[in-house]
């Protein structure tokens, strides 16, 4: 059972990694907690479902989820973040909360509150390697997570766009003085994080094959914990922290009690915040938050 639980933990970890990364893209660069990301994840899932239900192939579903969520993220940025850029950090956070309320309502009105289910699961073939059973979809999710993280790391660390992102994260005003269009960069950050959340939504939604407008709520909160544990501004940190927390959660359920699961995850998060606030892979302790 242990090995199977590890696989379960890794899959759960992949979910957390992708969403944590979405959070950290915006948080690391703009210092804002974008609470609407959980709903971008949810919407991505619904977009993906719609494509699959129309008998179109999986890559198209993923694309639809990413593009759809990115577009919605643009709306959030333009209305919810841009005008509130210079306000204390709690204000844009609450604004994104307003958006998440709206998206949940819209999704409920379009698709209903009962779970939307896929009749035939996508990539459902299962592979049995000894005591472990894993489905093709799960392998896709794990593989896609690693690929997306690597892609994101490449963009941030090796491209000029990435340099611009890092410059704005470091110091917005100086970046602008140096010719970086901070507004464009901010929009890009939102779009990237939206696309990531949307991809996560499609992949994960299709894996579990049953979604509701409220799937983002619980997962979103845990993903914030994962982001913190991995190190808010560390991309590879999310890749480490995600599976770490996923496995910790799974092991708590398997060997401890499923009742104390939340307690363990949030407790761990608080311990990390207190002892090593820059996260597991964090660099210097300079990631101090701005005044609220």
């Amino acid at each position: 059972m242990l090995l199977q639980q590890l696989v379960n933990g890794l899959t759960l970890g992949a979910v957390y990694t992708l969403i944590a990364l979405s959070f950290s893209l915006v948080m690391g660069i703009l210092g804002v907690l974008n609470l609407a990301i959980a709903e971008l994840f949810m919407l991505g899932g619904f977009f993906g479902f719609a494509v699959i239900a129309a008998q179109l192939p999986l890559p198209l579903a993923i694309l639809a989820g990413m593009v759809g969520a990115a577009l919605v993220a643009v709306i959030v940025e333009k209305i919810g973040y841009q005008p509130l850029r210079d306000a204390p950090v709690v204000t844009p956070m609450l604004s994104t909360l307003g958006f998440s309320i709206i998206f949940q309502n819209v999704a409920t009105n379009i698709w209903g509150s009962d779970p939307l289910q896929l009749t035939d699961e996508v990539l459902a073939t299962r592979f049995t390697l000894g005591p472990v059973s894993i489905s093709a979809m799960q392998i896709t999710v794990l593989g896609a997570t690693v690929m997306l993280v690597a892609l994101l790391a490449f963009v941030v660390q090796r491209t000029s766009i990435g340099r611009a992102l890092r410059a704005v994260a470091e110091n917005r005003d100086v970046a602008r003085l140096l010719g970086v269009s901070a507004d464009r960069v901010t929009l890009l950050a939102f779009m990237l994080s939206g696309a990531l959340a949307g991809a996560a939504g499609v992949l994960i939604g299709l894996h579990y094959a049953a979604i509701t407008p409220y799937i983002g709520v619980e997962i979103g909160l845990k993903a914030i914990a994962v982001m913190v544990i991995g190190g808010t501004t560390r991309i590879w940190g999310a890749l480490v922290a995600g599976p770490l927390i996923g496995i910790a959660e799974v092991m708590t359920v398997a060997y401890g009690g499923s009742q104390v699961r939340d307690f363990v995850v949030y407790g761990f998060m608080i311990v990390i915040l207190l002892l090593r606030p820059q996260g597991i892979l964090g660099g210097s302790g300079a990631d101090q938050g701005q005044r609220v």
Partner: protein, 278 residues
């Protein structure tokens, strides 16, 4: 004579007001707490235990619960010193979830089945506490202690250099806020005569913050305005039927865009109080 319906709404406003004030007090020292529903839960369960199981009269039970919650607030306040801004907010969020998870497993007080047996209290009693604490906060705002809190809020280092003790002030704020939130919880428990862990989750903590931010985050009575808004809006938006929640989201965003300090700010407050702006 006020209708029972409006009396019920007023009771909800009073309870929310106390929760909002608990956030406001802590916010005044520059700390955002997203976990005050945890303190509210502690207050609710402890007060209920005292009145139902031990037989303590409600007022004494509330005071005891507030004191206990204040101690928890102090315990939370110390590690909170190490965190700033959004990181502190996230940590308090984690704290709130942990408290909720605790009560979910705490079978002595019902666990997920909830707890019954409380005696109903009147709207008047709720407002005796709510108004009392609101007045206390308003008075506090005119005192030296508040100046010290604002100094810590604006620039902690400078405050330290001037001889203030940011530690005492910040931890003290957490403590006081926790006590006020506990009273909110105790009153909630005795107004609804039934509590369950789900009442004290992230959504509740966010309600407190919303009331402060929307109503006015720079003056105490802003929490009052915000509480009225949050309780009355869902009632008045009924006509929107299927789109009620979305409309609330739109209003929230709109308010933040148009007047980000909230409805009530210092100059408006002074004008309303027929006082010259100081």
């Amino acid at each position: 004579m006020i209708s029972v319906y409006y009396a019920g709404l007023l009771a909800d406003v009073g309870i929310l007001l106390l929760g909002a004030l608990s956030v406001y007090i802590i916010l005044a020292t520059g700390q955002l707490s997203l976990g005050n529903a945890g303190f509210m839960g502690i207050g609710a369960y402890l007060t209920s235990y005292l009145t139902v199981v031990v037989g303590v009269p409600i007022t004494l039970a509330l005071i005891l619960a507030a004191a206990a919650s204040g101690i928890v607030g102090t315990v939370v306040g110390f590690p909170a010193l190490r965190l700033k801004g959004i990181y502190l907010a996230i940590a308090t969020l984690g704290f709130g979830e942990m408290v909720r998870s605790f009560f979910l497993n705490f079978d002595t007080m019902g666990g997920s089945g909830g707890f019954h047996g409380m005696k109903h209290i009147s709207v008047g009693y709720i407002w005796a506490w709510a108004a009392g604490i609101l007045i206390l906060v308003v008075l506090l705002e005119r005192s030296r202690v508040w100046l010290e809190m604002r100094a810590v809020h604006d620039d902690e280092t400078a405050a330290g250099l001037v001889g203030l003790n940011p530690t005492t002030i910040k931890v003290g704020a957490f403590s006081f806020g926790a006590a006020v939130a506990a009273i909110s919880g105790g009153l909630f428990a005795h107004h609804h005569v039934y509590i369950e862990p789900g009442n004290f989750g992230f959504e509740r903590s966010i309600d407190f913050v919303l009331a402060v931010i929307l109503g006015g985050s720079t003056v105490g009575p802003g929490a009052l305005v915000g509480s009225f808004l949050l309780v009355l809006l869902p009632e008045y938006l009924r006509f929107l039927a299927d789109w009620r929640l979305a409309a609330f989201g739109v209003l929230l965003i709109g308010m933040l865009l148009v007047r980000r300090q909230g409805i009530l700010d210092r100059s408006l407050f002074n004008a309303l109080a027929f006082r010259r702006a100081s």
